[in-house]
C-alpha cells in the first residue's frame, strides 16, 4: 500500500496547476480560507487513487449505452456542473434536481441535496444504477471493465494493491472519492481579503457586500464564515419554500405515494429523481419526519458565480434573482425555515451582496465556467 504523499511534496512533483484537468493533491495556497480536506480513515488520500479516480470519473463505458460518465453532469470545464436547471442523463432523460458542483463537495458531511448518502464514496455509486442517470441495472458492468482493462488493472494494483479479481465497486468508489478530494479550493478574493491580510483584494462594493452578508442579509448563520476559515455551509437542511408550491396543496397524497413507493423497496434515489412532486419532499424522503418537508442542504457559496442556475431545481437563474428571493423572505409556507424572513434590503445592498458573492471564485477554477 503506497504511503500518502504530503501536499508540499506533491506541489514539488507537479508544476503549478494551470487548469482543472491536471490532478494534484491539495496545495496549501489553494486552501486559503478552508480547513484541511477531511479524509476518512478507511480511504487515505494518495495521488495514485486520485489520478485513477479522475479516469473513472470520465469513463463513459460506465453507462447502459456507453455515453454517460460522471463528467457528463459534472463537467470539469463548467466548474464540475452542467449549467442546466435540472440535469439530463441517459437518452436525454430529464431529472428533477440541479447538479451540484464537485468543487469542495469534500467538505459536506452528507451528499446529495437531501443528504441521503453520508460520504463521497457512497454517493458515487448511486448515479451508475439510476435509470435516469447512467442507466445501469447494477454495478457488474463497471466491475467487469475495471477487472479486464489492462490500464485499469495496473492502476488499481498501484493504488490499492489489489489483483484484478479482487477489484470491487467500492475500490471504484474510493478512487472517485479520492479524485473529488483533490477538487478543492479556497483562495478567492474574499479569502485573500479576510484571511490573507490583503485589504485590496475586494472591491469596495464587495466589502460592503460582506457586511450585508454578515449583518442585514442574515446569510452567515447558514452560509458559515468563521474567523480563520469559511465553509459557507452549515451542513444542515432548510426549507426556503423553493418549489414547495408544487406540492403544498397535495401533501397528504404525495406523502402517501412516497411511503408506498418506499414500502415496495424502491430506493429514495430513484423515487425523487423520477417524479417532480416527490423530489420536492426534500429531506423528508430520507428521514420520514414531516418536520423535514421541503428541506434541502445548504449549498456552499464558493464559486457560486460559476454554477448558475441555482437552488435544488435550478429555478433561480442569476445571483440577482437569488438575492431578491431571500429579500422577499423566500416562499411563505408553514414549513418555512425559522431563519428566513423578508430582509428589507436596499437596491445598493442587493448589488453589493451580488458583488460579494462574485468574489468567492477560487483562482484555481476561475477559468472554468462561463
Amino acid at each position: 500500500m503506497r504511503k500518502p504523499i504530503s501536499a508540499t511534496a506533491a506541489g514539488l512533483c507537479l508544476a503549478v496547476a494551470v487548469n482543472a484537468a491536471e490532478v494534484s493533491l491539495p496545495k496549501e495556497r489553494d486552501l486559503l480560507g478552508l480547513p484541511p480536506v477531511p479524509v476518512p480513515a478507511d480511504n487515505p488520500l494518495t495521488l495514485e487513487k486520485a489520478v485513477l479516480g479522475k479516469k473513472l470519473f470520465e469513463d463513459r463505458r460506465f453507462s447502459a449505452d456507453g455515453t454517460i460518465s460522471c463528467a457528463h453532469c459534472h463537467r470539469p470545464e463548467l466548474a464540475f456542473q452542467d449549467g442546466l436547471a435540472v440535469s439530463e442523463g441517459i437518452g436525454g432523460r430529464k431529472g428533477t434536481r440541479n447538479a451540484p458542483t464537485i468543487i469542495n463537495a469534500a467538505y459536506y458531511t452528507t451528499q446529495f441535496w437531501d443528504g441521503r448518502r453520508p460520504t463521497l464514496e457512497a454517493q458515487s455509486k448511486d448515479p451508475f444504477v439510476n435509470p435516469i442517470e447512467h442507466g445501469l441495472k447494477n454495478h457488474d458492468p463497471i466491475v467487469g471493465v475495471v477487472r479486464s482493462d489492462p490500464a485499469y488493472r495496473r492502476s488499481f494494483e498501484r493504488a490499492f494493491g489489489v489483483k484484478p479479481a479482487q477489484i470491487t465497486i467500492d475500490h471504484v468508489a474510493q478512487a472517485i472519492a479520492s479524485f473529488e478530494r483533490t477538487v478543492v479550493a479556497g483562495d478567492s478574493p474574499f479569502d485573500r481579503y479576510l484571511y490573507g491580510g490583503d485589504k485590496n483584494a475586494l472591491s469596495p462594493a464587495a466589502v460592503r457586500g460582506l457586511a450585508v452578508f454578515r449583518g442585514k442579509g442574515r446569510c452567515v448563520s447558514c452560509h458559515v464564515i468563521e474567523s480563520s476559515t469559511a465553509l459557507f455551509t452549515d451542513n444542515d437542511f432548510h426549507n426556503l419554500g423553493v418549489g414547495f408550491e408544487r406540492i403544498a396543496d397535495r401533501l397528504p397524497e404525495i406523502i402517501a405515494a412516497f411511503r408506498k413507493a418506499k414500502a415496495t423497496g424502491k430506493p429514495v434515489d430513484e423515487a425523487v429523481l423520477s417524479q417532480k412532486a416527490l423530489s420536492e419532499l426534500g429531506r423528508f424522503a430520507v428521514t420520514g419526519d414531516v418536520s423535514d418537508l421541503g428541506k434541502f442542504k445548504t449549498s456552499t457559496l464558493r464559486n457560486i458565480a460559476l454554477t448558475a442556475p441555482y437552488m435544488h431545481d435550478g429555478s433561480l437563474k442569476t445571483l440577482e434573482e437569488v438575492v431578491d428571493f431571500y429579500d422577499r423572505g423566500g416562499f411563505a409556507n408553514p414549513m418555512l425555515d425559522g431563519g428566513i424572513r423578508p430582509l428589507g434590503l436596499t437596491a445598493q445592498e442587493k448589488a453589493d451582496l451580488v458583488a460579494f458573492l462574485k468574489s468567492l471564485t477560487s483562482s484555481r477554477f476561475a477559468t472554468t465556467g462561463r
Binding site: 454578515r214 448563520s221 468563521e226
Partner: protein, 129 residues
C-alpha cells in the same frame, strides 16, 4: 520661599483629600449611580425595543441565558469573536426586528448594566460557548 509656601498652604486647603482616598460615602453614592442606570436597563430590557412587540425578557427572564461572563467569544450568529454589546445589537435587529443602538449609547450601557447585575457573582469565562 515664603510666597511658595503660602501658595502650597492655600493649595492644600483648597483641594480635598488626594486623588485615591475615596470614602464610604463616595462608594455608596457611586453604587447608587450604577443602580440607577441598572434600573433603567431593567426597564429597557422589559420593553419592546424593536418593531414586533417582543422584549428581551421574553427569552431571557431575569437576563437568564445571556451569559455576559463569557464575552468576548466566538459568536456563531455574527461569524466572529464579538462582545456582549454587539450581540445585544444582533438581538435588537433579529429576534426583535428593530434597529441597533450605538455601542457607546446610554441605552446600551444601561442594558449591559442590567444584564451584568442579574449575573453578578458568576466568574469570568471568556470564550465559553
Amino acid at each position: 520661599m515664603k510666597r511658595i509656601s503660602v501658595w502650597l498652604l492655600l493649595a492644600a486647603l483648597a483641594v480635598p483629600a488626594p486623588g485615591d482616598e475615596f470614602t464610604e460615602e463616595d462608594l455608596k453614592r457611586w453604587k447608587a449611580e450604577y443602580m440607577k442606570v441598572m434600573e433603567r436597563g431593567e426597564k429597557l430590557f422589559h420593553s419592546p425595543l424593536g418593531s414586533n412587540n417582543v422584549s428581551c425578557d421574553q427569552c431571557h427572564p431575569n437576563g437568564a441565558n445571556t451569559h455576559p461572563e463569557t464575552y468576548p467569544k466566538f459568536q456563531k450568529q455574527l461569524g466572529k469573536v464579538a462582545t456582549l454589546r454587539e450581540m445585544i445589537n444582533w438581538c435588537l435587529q433579529n429576534p426583535l426586528e428593530g434597529k441597533p443602538l450605538a455601542l457607546d449609547s446610554d441605552e446600551m450601557i444601561a442594558l449591559e448594566a442590567y444584564i451584568h447585575w442579574e449575573r453578578r457573582g458568576v466568574p469570568l469565562a471568556p470564550g465559553k460557548h
